[in-house]
């Protein structure tokens, strides 16, 4: 894993140095807006409380991910981590900004190459049941895309599916079964096999172990790490579980209300978090090794993305907030080599 170690150090943000990042997110933004339809406009004129809404689910996120790197993405609900993952996986298009795959903007690629690039970035989903089509057999769930894209011929499909199934620890004898006949952990393996079948080099894992039992979670995490070692995969590992991210990620990104608040190598972030929000998250995440203790939570609710606070989005809950935090949004700045944080407090030192 030495290659990873060096690349980890070499890829802060924006990526300097020689190595081209595997994937670069450049000012990615996703807005969800609704226009009022005729009836709603009428209702509004009559005094009803209907509003057009405009949410920046993801707001100007830039990040460069080096080949072979595992980047953890952490945040609470409404922070935009899932939307960001969907954009990276090509399921929803960004409202602005671009995705740059191996130095080439995805949007500008000719059709065929764009499809190839899309296949190179695959996703493993959260819900092991909902992410598998209940009416298809495992052989088809895994084998459909490679056959459609000409990676294997119809004759080779069965052998190919069997080899992929073995790779993720499934018995190929079960290829003719349907998803509901498997346990949660096995279904997640099927989901991973489906992604691997199109020979990706980048996996977006969106809460991929969150729905699994604790004892099964460890098996799937180990599988991800094995695949990384064997296939040289790069990961964007999205999770709310800090322990999992700390264990698996080389670098960790923390998001709050659509924006990145801190980026740092995991080893540093989990020992010396810089942003007050990162600190709060780390303090309050339950850990097995804490003994009976008094919980001392930070106050307040996560604000609605419909109506984010002005200035720093975290200021209403921040124990260290300055007057400035209420009006001026802190930018994400480098605070040490390879470390970024968006907090005004860093200006005071």
């Amino acid at each position: 894993m030495t290659a990873t170690t060096s690349s980890r150090a070499a890829v802060p943000l924006p990526a300097p140095g020689s190595a081209t990042p595997m994937l670069e997110l450049s000012h990615l933004t996703k807005r969800f807006t609704t226009k009022l339809d005729f009836a709603e406009r009428l209702a509004k004129r009559l005094g009803a409380k209907v509003q057009e809404f405009d949410v920046r689910a993801v707001d100007d996120v830039s990040l460069a991910i080096a080949p072979g790197e595992v980047v953890g993405l952490v945040g609470e609900s409404g922070c935009g981590k899932t939307t960001l993952g969907r954009m990276v996986a090509g399921i929803i298009p960004p409202s602005s900004g671009e995705l740059i795959y191996r130095g080439r903007p995805m949007a500008a690629l000719p059709h065929d190459e764009a499809r190839q690039a899309t296949l190179k970035i695959q996703m493993v989903f959260q819900d092991p049941m909902a992410s598998l089509n209940p009416r298809l057999r495992v052989s088809e769930i895994i084998g459909e895309a490679p056959r459609v894209h000409g990676i294997v011929s119809r004759n080779e499909q069965a052998d190919y599916v069997a080899s992929i199934m073995r790779k993720v620890g499934l018995d190929p004898a079960y290829a003719a079964r349907f998803p509901h006949q498997f346990s949660g952990g096995q279904r997640q393996r099927i989901g991973i096999a489906r992604a691997l079948a199109v020979q990706p080099d980048f996996l977006v894992c969106d809460e991929s172990v969150a729905a699994l039992d604790v004892s099964i979670q460890a098996q799937i995490i180990n599988l991800f790490m094995e695949l990384r070692r064997d296939l040289g995969l790069t990961y964007l590992f999205i999770s709310h579980d800090l322990g999992v991210v700390e264990h698996i990620a080389d670098r960790t990104v923390i998001m709050y209300l659509g924006r990145v608040v801190e980026v740092a190598p995991s080893a540093e972030l989990f020992t010396k978090p810089n942003h007050p929000y990162s600190r709060a998250l780390l303090d309050e995440a339950p850990r097995v090794d804490t003994r009976k203790r008094t919980f001392a939570p930070i106050r307040g609710e996560i604000p609605s993305p419909l109506d984010p606070p002005a200035g720093c989005a975290f200021h209403p809950r921040c124990p260290l907030a300055l007057p400035r935090c209420r009006s001026e949004r802190p930018s994400l700045r480098e605070i040490a080599p390879g470390r970024l944080s968006a907090c005004h407090l860093n200006d005071m030192q």
Binding site: S215, Q219, N222, H247, L281, E284, V288, R293, A296
Partner: protein
């Protein structure tokens, strides 16, 4: 506060589900004692019977499930054989339940005030204004800001965390002796979960309410609970004080669970994992249900091991040495 006073004693509780595929022994001989002000963490994976245990205590098991044996004693009174009327009287007043989904408790079309006042009046003869005052207090106690305004609101106007607080406030209205909380923070964010854990902890300390906290997450109860019971396939496989169970796990399953927690492993190294998967309750292995997945299993394990002790006990013939 006398810690020795037993509020709830569960003894050899058995709840079976009679399904088309056969009899599922969801709870099969569970025993534990809950003292005043004590927090018991009931930990297990899906299908371990932890939720069914909670439901059985309250007599809320629906067909095809049925309590087929054992006793649940509340201050010495057996609830398994008690009349439905008596159970209804106890439920919601002396013994309260909090669910993972607060909307199990809340009615979406009634204001919080209406629901809370009704709950008070259902068990106590007090005036409406007094009931309202108690509701306000309960909301304040679980850390809901400006409770007067919030009383008039409807459940959908609250965030997930706030809704769970309201559900907890309703559970608290009659100052129950026992609260059974089934994964109440699983759907919540880390910072919100910490707030709720904080309120619950404070509450048990201040009012002497005993709490059974059902969860799949060892990490949550290790910081919250006084005692921890680990369930596997319908049985408690290990029970003891939180420190004993977490630091000195003896049952190989508890040991395996703890070992698979990422923070107990070196960063980037493969996690210690329990092989195999949870067995189906319809088709449990003979003897110790963990045997097929257990690294320490021997032929002796084809018989069911007894729980070794009341204070810190385990169901295993070949227990692990204490974890370093």
């Amino acid at each position: 506060m006398t810690r020795q006073e037993a509020v709830l004693e569960v003894e050899d509780l058995r709840t079976y589900f009679f399904t088309r595929g056969g009899v599922a022994k969801a709870v099969d001989g569970v025993s534990f004692t809950l003292h005043r002000g004590e927090i018991l963490g009931l930990v297990g994976e899906s299908g371990s019977g932890k939720s069914v245990t909670g439901m059985s205590v309250l007599g809320l098991v629906d067909p095809p499930g049925r309590i087929v044996g054992g006793a649940v004693r509340y201050h010495g009174e057996d609830l398994v054989t008690a009349a439905e009327k008596r159970l209804r009287q106890l439920r919601g007043s002396r013994i309260a339940m909090i669910f993972q989904d607060p909307m199990m408790t809340l009615n979406p079309v009634l204001s919080v005030e209406t629901q809370m006042v009704e709950t008070v009046l259902a068990h106590d003869r007090v005036s409406r204004s007094e009931a309202r005052e108690r509701s306000r207090e309960a909301l304040a106690r679980v850390g809901i800001p400006s409770p007067d305004e919030r009383l008039a609101a409807y459940p959908h106007q609250f965030s997930g965390g706030m809704r769970q607080r309201v559900a907890i406030a309703i559970a608290l209205l009659h100052r129950p002796d026992v609260i059974i909380a089934d994964e109440p923070t699983t759907a919540l964010d880390v910072t919100i979960q910490a707030q709720i854990l904080f309120e619950m902890q404070k509450l048990c300390r201040e009012t002497g309410t005993a709490l059974v906290w059902i969860t799949h997450d060892l990490a949550v109860v290790s910081g919250l609970a006084d005692r921890i019971a680990v369930m596997y396939a319908g049985r408690i496989v290990e029970i003891g004080s939180a420190v004993e169970v977490i630091d000195g796990a003896r049952h190989p399953y508890t040991h395996g669970l703890l070992g698979s927690v990422p923070s107990r492993n070196r960063r980037g190294e493969p996690l210690a994992q329990i092989p195999g998967m949870t067995p189906s309750l319809l088709n449990l292995p003979e003897g110790c249900a963990f045997r097929p997945r257990c690294p320490r299993a021997t032929d002796a394990c084809f018989a069911l091991p007894p729980l070794s002790d009341e204070a810190h006990g385990w169901r295993c013939f070949n227990p692990q040495g204490a974890v370093a």
